[in-house]
Amino acid sequence: MLKRQRQLAVGAVVAISMLATACSGGTGAGGAVSSSPSPDNAGGTNAGGGEQVELRVMWWGDQARADITNQVLKLFMDKNPNIKVIGEFAPSSGYFDKLNTQLASGTAADVFFLGGNVVDYANKDVLLDLTPYVGNELDLSDMDPAMIQYGTLADKLVHVSAGANARGIVVNTKLFEQAGIPVPQDGWNWDDYARISNEIAAKLGDGYYGTYNFTFEGMDIAYKQNGAQLYDMAAGKLGFEEKNALDWFGYWSKTSEGGGVVTPELAVSHPIDDPSKSLITSGKAAMNLIPSNQLGAYQGLTEDPLTMVQLPRGPKGTGVVFESSQGLSGYAKTEHPKEVAMLISFFINDPEAAKILGNNRGVPVTSKNRSLLEAEASDVDKIVYDYTSRVSDATKTEPFAVSYNPPGNAEFEKMGKTTVQEIGFGRKTVEQAVKDFYQNAVKILNSNQ
């Protein structure tokens, strides 16, 4: 009796344990509806032929972004009655896991958004080659050549930027006013940055900080300021030496000792990249590194006037370029590549769409839409335009390469941020942490080539 019970129980144990595997297999795919199979491939030959076509589009972001994106998709459907577009979105934290799952099961959306990690997806051949549609369904005539170049990987156009931005220092001017310190100007250097951060914290007292710790987020910029870069795509290897990393991590470790840097605990509960929880918007931290298109989101959450200043300079300049913030890619297995190209073209060219989207994903990539938006810019937008034009001017004399994330970006990001915490929580010395960081970076890059 007992024996049989035992067998049953063991069987149950095995079964229950299996659920773990089965469950994780299902995660993320839950929201995916397999695209309706339309067997007649002839449908793609003529978009205007009255054939009903269904496209799915997926992006990341908050509800505000979802609302305006859906509005634009609706506009597209009104103008192209034979195309039905279904929008899906996920918060940025789970977006790529969801996308990966859908790609693995062959149920990804026909059009989806990617960021600097486009390389990872281009390497895996899941992106639609849009080259044949350029000049026909896909109008890129008004787009900056550099942006087209950015989306062209291995001689194929696989990515069309949906907005451009430049990273910079967001400044909460109210905290500077309270501390009686003048708001910094372009042209400052890293010593200034450390000194000002510590002064702010010292003058405003307990619970106030000069700056977030953006060791990881600003790494690529810091390397470029010293003539290196994070990832050398042409050579397919890391673009920096361990020494570069040691200098940069060391700078932050030293600045943190002065008390001007947000503590690692606070950075966990108030993440650096989440405007809604940011210490910038709650008026506890004065400076942070942000992409310019996020200034609007930050300003929308606080009464304190915010502004943007160029990054402190290194030996070669600010290291910042005006670059794609994110863009659209088609799915290689889509059944309606032409319609995909039409939708992408509409998204970047249509003036009405541009008005709805504004700067949410960055400054428009076509010059017509840019002047359209600049004509009716809000106060926050004006700060963004002013900032991005200062960056553009600077890059005329001090050009920098556009950056791509290294392959295996998700794992690299996790590893890099953990390294920053290891130093912050005192688990490793800077030297040891950087040594491990460099080794791991090489390892991750090699296994994702």
Binding site: M18, A20, G25
Partner: protein, 304 residues
Amino acid sequence: MGTSRKSLARDQNRTAYLFLLPWLLGFFLLTAGPMAGSLYLSLTKYTLLSPPTWIGVENYARIFAEDDTFRGSLWLTFKYVFLSVPLKLAFALMIAMVLNKGLRAIGLYRTVYYIPSLLGGSVAIAIVWRQIFDGTGAVNRALAWLGIEGPSWIAHPDYIIHTIVTLSVWQFGSAMVIFLAGLKQIPSDLYEAAQVDGANGWRRFSRITLPMLTPVIFFNLVMGVINSFQAFTPAFVIGDGRGGPLDATMFYTLYLYLKGFSFFEMGYASALAWIMLLIIGLLTAVIFVTSKYWVFYGDNKEGR
């Protein structure tokens, strides 16, 4: 006579299998296939997006030879299991004994205490937990009232595990209901006899209640261990979803998930899943084997 007993046994077997049928169907149609699939994938390099290529046991070799995160997550998960399961069971037993005193509205209490078990696994509760244990959350405000300055329970790598353990202990309801049923089964004449002999409360608990409850404890222990090993949601939501801060929420299941779905190493993740299956199986086997030394079935002839 022998034959009729045999046919009776066969009859009983048939009935048993009939009852098991739905489960067996589910297992063979839904679970067995993916299981075999994941065993195959664990022997391949599979990036999710390109077809798997056979690499033999290399994934397993890498996991055991050079993966520090694997070791860290395994250690963390064991720590979680060995902290949360005993605490939860002790807490459940305590509440069950209080409720067993013959309270008037016992049905109401039983329901109220059971609710956390229903809600506990949900994302919403994990988010509420985040708020409560935040640096400026309810717990720290209560502590400040007593003049204690509490740390940030969810942001510091040393403390976050305890927040997650607390969340798990709070879901003591289902274990409690089972304990309550077990307590009701203990014949009251045992207690009466003990009282006559002058045994105090502690002796009655340790000599009657505990031994008589061992089958129930055994069941709760097995279920608790298996469930705790598979904890995912609390780590995913209370932490940053990436195992942070400092891998302090990098539970085994979360690591497996990240490897498979974020880092494009599904083959490696499958190998991790099989290792977890073996570990859970082994641990459960240990509990079963030792059970004959500590689980007391009242109907057993030898008394043990």
